[in-house]
Subunit: 254 residues, 2 copies
């Protein structure tokens, strides 16, 4: 297959390299990734600045293209201008899980979503760890997964968000198809004072409060590799149905 | 009501001022908005830099808080630290429509979505125009809308994406409850060469290709004010059902 690789940790990230190593033996692989880390950018795109593209070499060999934009920019630019049509887009392997509400903030997943918007099947890959990360097994799994299910993913034009627990492979309990958790995060704002006496805030979200077992958050915590198919229609159909059926905005006039 | 105002065009934007003017007579209104324009940032949040908050005055009077972050940052920081709980979050009035796929890229809508994530009802407001914009009528409409339906919006904890056509109020055909269009945009990348001979790209998306009449894109084009209820679960339930029922990933092993 012709595969586009991207990520939000930047073109030099270890997780991207792990995907490249795992996939380039069997597939025609292209790298188009942000020139630097672009975490938590959500589905941002760059429209007020021009996008620059740099060819990156590793040693003597051409490695890929670094783009001065977001993951979504990379996918658009790659599919329209740099690489052209591909069979599959793979984004990652991200340092840190992308489950629950965090999916909304995720540059890694937004790259896969962007691919789906443009009509291409895609996989986003993340590991629930920030240190001592073994990208190797996740890369191996993705390779096997694509080997076995690449046709299914293409045929159904799927966009899959895959997350790996931070476990030794033999401790992983299995693979679960789950929905995205929508439970709130426990958010943290820490107020600090700088050396000039001025206030600033650090933002963080520490804990998922989800308890439902059919969600990505819980399954990942339980030690499963989670797979969640992703779409990009933000319409709340339940609210829309309610508003129409109950005629709740009945007398809108101006 | 206690209302938080924000936007993605920045704390000094005319559209924000129009909302303030329309709502502050009847409601307790707080402004927490990005210090500068943050368009097309999607649902980005700022986790690698500290957030700064500046008190902004207009003439002698306190106007609001400018935050060195994205619209989603503003909403989080406002509700957790600066303003505290509110009855409603209103984001806008945005220069440029936020319908169809563009909803994914929209900072304006992401502020409303963030409010909903945090459990607050919200309205995102945009006008389908970039020049000669009459914010006044949209402000007036939002005021009337909240006066009539504020209770419904609160009771059902709705997140509404409202878009105004670029028409004189008497030419507007009415109000339509519609779904978000998921049809592809006609994307444009323009390749240019800078003064140093280096290539760069401008990104733009010009046209919606949508034709279905129950969508925001078409209703807005036809001259209606569109209202779309928004949610934040990106799970593709149709794909999830399919994958489970058909057992398409039957033999995943490693």
């Amino acid at each position: 297959m012709k595969i586009l690789l991207t990520n939000d940790d930047g073109v030099y990230a270890e997780g991207l390299c792990a995907l490249y190593n795992a996939l380039s033996g069997e597939h025609e692989v292209y790298i188009v990734a942000p020139e630097a880390e672009r975490s938590a950018v959500g589905h941002a795109i760059t429209i007020h600045y021009p996008l620059r593209v740099k060819e990156i070499r590793r040693g003597k060999h051409f490695w890929g293209y670094a783009v001065s934009g977001t993951p979504a920019d990379c996918v658009k630019l790659a599919l329209y201008e740099i690489v052209g049509p591909v069979d599959l887009v793979v984004s990652g392997i991200n340092r840190g899980a992308n489950v629950g509400i965090n999916v909304l903030y995720s540059g890694t997943v937004s790259a896969a979503t962007e691919a789906r918007i443009l009509g291409y099947p895609a996989i986003a890959v993340s590991i629930d760890a920030y240190e001592d990360i073994d990208y190797c097994f996740a890369g191996y799994f993705v390779h096997q997964f694509i080997r076995h299910y690449g046709k299914v993913i293409k045929d159904y034009n799927l966009c899959l968000n895959i997350n790996f627990p931070h476990l030794n492979p033999h401790d992983i309990k299995g693979v679960k198809l789950v929905r995205q958790s929508t439970a709130r995060l426990k958010e943290i704002f820490e107020k600090r004072v700088d050396l000039h006496g001025k206030v600033y805030y650090w933002q963080g979200a520490e804990e998922h409060t989800e308890t439902e077992v059919d969600t990505d958050v819980v399954a990942l915590k339980e030690g499963y590799i989670t797979i969640t198919p992703i779409q990009f229609d933000l319409t709340s159909y339940s609210d829309l149905d309610l508003l129409i059926k109950e005629n709740l905005f009945a007398s809108i006039s101006f």
